[in-house]
């Protein structure tokens, strides 16, 4: 398992760890059987993600991708956050080992799940905006 320095930096000093007390949206993806659970909290003001925090149960890559993903969407418009792909997260981390790609997928999905929750809470159907958040498929256990 050779992690890049960036991954190790985000693992050792994860940004935005924690919860947001009165979050506008909360998304949780993954499951413990898989070995990874990500929970993301967002604060939204004027369609801008003003704050984001995460909690993650998972491997080093899961923690690092959570951290990087939060960094990448913090202060960004929701629209932009939704465009964040797992590939972009991986690139920002200087890559991930092949067996860890699913972690970046989870991070992408966690954001989408949080945004969906935000729309739901506002009484808006998230489906046309966010699409369906698919189940983690790279994770073959279960």
């Amino acid at each position: 398992m050779a992690y890049s320095e960036k991954v190790m930096d985000h693992f050792a000093n994860p940004r935005n760890v924690g919860e947001i007390e009165n979050a506008d949206g909360i998304g949780e993806v993954g499951n413990s059987k898989c070995g990874d659970i990500m929970k993301m909290y967002i604060k939204v003001d004027n369609d801008i993600i003003t704050d984001v925090k995460f909690k993650t149960f998972g491997c080093g890559a899961a923690i690092a991708t959570s951290s990087m993903a939060t960094e990448l969407i913090k202060g960004k418009p929701i629209e932009e956050a939704l465009k964040l792909t797992n590939k972009a997260v991986m690139e920002a981390l200087d890559g991930l080992p092949p067996v860890k790609v699913h972690c970046s997928v989870l991070a992408e999905q966690a954001i989408k799940a949080a945004v969906s929750d935000y729309y739901k809470k506002k009484g808006i159907d998230p489906e046309p905006i966010v699409g369906t958040v698919p189940e983690c498929t790279s994770c073959s256990c279960g």
């Binding site: 929970k39 491997c59 256990c141």
Partner: protein, 399 residues
């Protein structure tokens, strides 16, 4: 920062004394042991001396029962495939093994299943120990071989080898044991313990990587895995890894010489560490506490995942593992922990610390200080732990 190597079940540092013994064969006596001339003779002599001494240390009746291989995996493959292929003609097509064997055994069994052999995978129960009566009950007319590991590589539990050996002898079924983890930590005597075949590898006992052995009791019919030259009495081809063989012998000899004292020291360290870590809430020790390798500690901490725990340990100077090194990188939780009945989410969060003579009580002190801090830190960011705590609170409120 303190640097602690606590993954001696994965591999060990070559002991300086062992390397010293190997050096002449890495430099001066490079000749081919099968050749006629003098420097080949020196190499040959070294190989045969090692064979004799190893036979003695394993309680084998004849030096010629020791066959050198490239390591534990090759030995395991050879033992099962070799015996099964040789006995197939006699109508034997059944293998008995356990659920928590090393993959070198389990994947070999899978391959043999594809060829038409049938395999019974015995339960290892919650404490990680095979019941000899289960072996007896599983034996059939067409059983070719029983293969039960001497000690498990993840949770360190030691199996009732002598009892299983007796049962196999009684029923005239061959008995193989993978002693890769136990060699050097328990007293092995293949004759007294009725072991017909035994696998070992050097790099787990402060010897070099790339050299192991298969003990094959005289008279056993076994097909070759690696065909070719006449080395190893025509049973295992390939130019002998002379420095490796010399290193294997030196390492085993050292382990045997220091066994009592070393194991006593390790057992004390191990038990203090387990007691200390069990004070962490929702922690558990995996595998029997008594029938256990002296250097093995395998624990789970609910709510945290194994890999991030290991990375944190590494950042704190501690080299550990979450189980067998060969499967790290895989997404699946340990088959060993599942075999002793742990649920997936807990099986994902295991930590194996395995010690050798190079470790000290100060190492234990340091680990006892660092691990609880890391566990607390990771739990603080774990949504799973959050859920556990909420559930706890709800249950407390209900009462």
């Amino acid at each position: 920062m303190r640097e602690i190597y606590a993954d001696n079940s994965a591999t060990t540092k070559i002991a300086p004394e062992v390397l010293d013994k190997m050096m002449p064969y890495l430099t001066t006596y490079y000749g081919n042991p099968s050749s006629l001339y003098k420097i080949g003779g020196k190499a040959k002599e070294a190989v045969e001396k090692a064979r004799e001494n190893i036979a003695k240390n394993l309680g084998a009746a004849h030096a010629s029962e020791i066959y050198f291989t490239s390591g534990g995996s090759e030995s395991d493959n050879w033992a099962l495939k070799g015996v099964c292929h040789a006995l197939k003609a006699k109508g034997k097509k059944h293998i008995i093994t356990s659920k928590f064997e090393h993959h070198a055994i389990l994947h070999t069994c899978k391959a043999l299943e594809k060829e038409g052999f049938e395999v019974t995978y015995l339960d290892v129960y919650e404490n990680g120990i095979v019941h000899p009566e289960d072996v007896e009950n599983a034996i059939r007319e067409d059983t070719a071989i029983v293969s039960i590991m001497y000690a498990n590589n993840e949770i360190g539990t030691i199996q009732p080898i002598k009892e299983i050996g007796e049962i196999c002898k009684k029923h005239k079924v061959l008995f193989h044991t993978d002693a890769v983890q136990s060699a050097g930590y328990v007293k092995i005597n293949v004759v007294e313990q009725n072991i017909d075949l035994l696998s070992m590898t050097a790099h787990k006992i402060h010897g070099p990587k790339g050299c192991g052995l298969l003990y094959i009791r005289r008279g056993i019919r076994i097909d070759n895995l690696i065909e070719g030259g006449a080395q190893e009495r025509n049973k295992r081809a390939g130019t002998e890894n002379v420095p490796g063989i010399v290193g294997l012998d030196a390492a085993l000899q050292m382990a045997v010489d220091t066994m009592d004292e070393r194991c006593a020291k390790l057992t004390k360290m191990r038990d203090r560490l387990i007691d200390g870590l069990l004070k962490i809430e929702r922690s558990r020790i995996n595998g029997d506490r008594v029938h256990r390798l002296p250097g093995n500690v395998n624990m789970c901490f609910e709510g945290i995942e194994g890999e991030s725990l290991l990375l944190k340990l590494d950042l704190n100077g501690i080299s550990a593992s979450s189980g067998s090194a060969c499967t790290s990188g895989s997404l699946d939780p340990s088959h060993v922990l599942l075999a002793i009945g742990l649920p997936h989410e807990i099986a994902h969060g295991s930590m194996r610390l395995s010690f050798s003579d190079d470790n000290t009580e100060e190492d234990i002190d340091y680990i006892l200080k660092v691990v609880p801090e890391i566990v607390n830190y990771l739990r603080a960011m774990s949504p799973l732990w959050e859920d556990i705590k909420k559930r706890e609170a709800a249950e407390a409120a209900q009462k």
